[in-house]
Symmetry: C2
Subunit: 391 residues, 2 copies
């Protein structure tokens, strides 16, 4: 029932369609984080009106609150949150391990924050961790992750893997990758037991920054009947290294499957990814940025307003106090059609929650416009030119 | 340009129309608090879609942030916040004096909280207070309050008065009332200097719990060419006393002017007020209640869900965890058409901002439905029966 087809190729970049029971996702596409079954501060009708194709929820958060059985009793995630378009859930692993090992962002910043670490142990069986809500002990196995994701009922689901950080050794990365492969096999077997045809399973490519390990992981994934594949694990300590690893990895992957790049959402990174054959992206960046008061803007709207080479403008800045223009004059999102930078600046200063709704709305619309422009550019073989409008 | 007419009378209750440059307000009407030029957590399009007729902003908050001159430069309050329907601003006095004397709510609860008091002194000239934002010293005079309200540009504006609390002496209440009358005169003179015909001025009735003082205040207001009148000051220490004072006061007021009851928004209180001839009400209650997780419900939807005699249900309650019904099955607000109690319960537990948007939306729609039902009931002389659906 769930199918992927590539409809146009331009270099390694490609346009595709993922057909799901909740509609078609036109790729390249961006997947927005509705972590706890809600896009923070924006209702699902508004999210859909921003031309959003697909959102994701996090298994880790939902298994702890309200619990997968509660969501199942309430008719599954789509019905629970009233979202009728495609959805993805992750395996729960990323949060457990990033809370255990420290997040990728902390890693890049050199932070080693040992507070809030809730991972108790990792064994061949799975991961034992504490609930951040009530301190209760949980065991997440590959089988359990699949069972939970089947109860949640998203269209696209993901195998459990150990997400290794950059600072671990090659030896650890290798051992962990092999275990993740065994976990992936167990995930697949569990998935097939109750496969309704309404969900599709993604494998995950591990191997850290090591080419031979990445090859091994790609070959493993290619040999298994996964629907798609997600590139995970450490992508290095710099943007350059990340692009190298993604380039190398995508070159080894089965081309008839959709490829997802986990946790990447910067505009420049998306262009690199698309050029390397990535079909879908997800990241908290656009929505989190909004809650920090920053709005994504195109190059032409950025240069005059931001001295630094940033992809966004910070609406808390005093320069916007009397600025009657919308965030972007050529944007047709709800926020830009209705409100000025000056008003949003005021809302931020006054700590009004509405500020977060309005900027999040713009940033979601912006990302969807970006992806739509990218798809058009691939169709017309003009991706290099299109890039200039955004970076 | 701004006119009021009574179109139907039933006992002391009445239906009326306040014609303003931003449209007609059908009374009895409820005025929602958009304190800092925003209804907390809900955008103006949604607020309008809830059948809202009129909102208010607070002069006190806006003069401190972003400042009346900023709002004026940005085209006035309506344009600033993108609200095209009628608006009211208060004088700024209530916040200054309630922060100085302690609020009415604190009074009823017997709380005497001396922290956060920012009132420095009250003189014949006006009130000196400190900004809660940056500690800066401000002087608010009757003239200044009118100048600010003229810059903000709401349709209905209010004279500056000293809002006396319950615990002050009769002597203080009397002296304060007389000063408020002198302030009202000064407000009126200032208003008339720059009267564009696009704003209308309300006087305020003071006199606390003392009948003779209330008579004096009503006679004063009736003798001045105010457009409308608001009942302010202490309404006593119990609901019974409040109803007595309102009944007594409305009986002494000019009947051809709209009468506003300041800061009252409970369903039962609204029915009492309407029966005593009140035309408009305002209160933070419906929107603040929402931010505490509680939704207003009609009697028929309340009895089975709340053991106490409350006008709302608390959606944080565990009983709603698996409840697939909307807040009210017969409600046509955005929230009830789209989301279940179970989902909102989850959002509250997960501390998702969306919970506040969704419940606020319902509570606004609810209050507007209540007022609409009241207007219909007055038209049909069935107010007593209608009351049973709500209390």
């Amino acid at each position: 029932m769930i199918k992927f087809k590539v409809t146009k190729q331009s270099g390694k970049a490609r346009i595709g369609e993922i057909h799901t029971p909740h509609g078609t996702i036109y790729t390249p596409a961006f997947i927005f984080c509705a972590t706890k079954a809600a896009i923070k501060a924006v209702d699902t009708e508004r999210v859909a009106n921003c031309n959003t194709q697909i959102i994701l929820s996090n298994t880790y958060h939902l298994m702890l609150q309200p619990g997968e059985d509660t969501v199942a009793k309430l008719g599954g995630l789509h019905k629970f949150m009233n979202w009728s378009k495609p959805m993805l859930t992750d395996s729960g692993g990323y949060q457990i391990f990033s809370l255990g090992h420290g997040s990728v962002a902390e890693e890049i910043k050199g932070v080693r924050n040992n507070t809030k670490r809730t991972l108790i142990k990792i064994t061949e069986d799975g991961a034992v961790f504490r609930s951040y809500i009530n301190g209760g002990k949980y065991l997440l196995t590959p089988e359990k992750s699949i069972q939970i994701q089947q109860k949640l009922g998203a269209d696209l689901i993901v195998v459990l893997d150990e997400c290794t950080p950059f600072h671990v050794s090659r030896e650890y990365t290798e051992k962990s990758m092999r275990m993740s492969h065994r976990w992936a096999k167990r995930s697949l077997i569990e998935f097939q037991k109750n496969d309704s045809g309404k969900q599709a399973l993604y494998g995950i490519i591990q191997g850290g920054v090591y080419e031979d390990l990445r090859i091994e992981s790609c070959e493993f994934a290619n040999s298994m009947p996964f629907f798609g594949q997600a590139i995970g694990g450490s992508l290095g300590s710099s943007k350059e290294q990340m692009y190298d690893i993604v380039a190398f990895t995508t070159s080894k992957l089965a081309e008839d499957r959709p490829t997802h790049l986990l946790g990447i959402g910067g505009i420049e990174d998306i262009f690199y990814g698309v050029e390397l054959g990535i079909d879908t992206f997800d990241c908290v960046h656009p929505t989190r940025l909004a809650r920090h008061g920053s709005a994504l803007v195109k190059v032409e709207n950025r240069n005059s307003l931001s001295s630094k080479r940033k992809e966004h403008i910070n609406l808390r800045n005093q320069r916007f106090k009397l600025d009657e223009d919308p965030i972007e004059s050529d944007c047709e999102c709800f926020t830009c059609l209705n409100h000025s930078r000056a008003y949003i600046h005021h809302l931020l200063k006054a700590k009004e929650l509405l500020a977060y709704s309005l900027i999040t709305t713009h940033n979601i619309y912006f990302m969807n416009s970006l992806m739509s422009s990218i798809r058009k550019a691939i169709l017309n073989n003009t991706l290099k030119d299109e890039r200039k409008n955004w970076i």
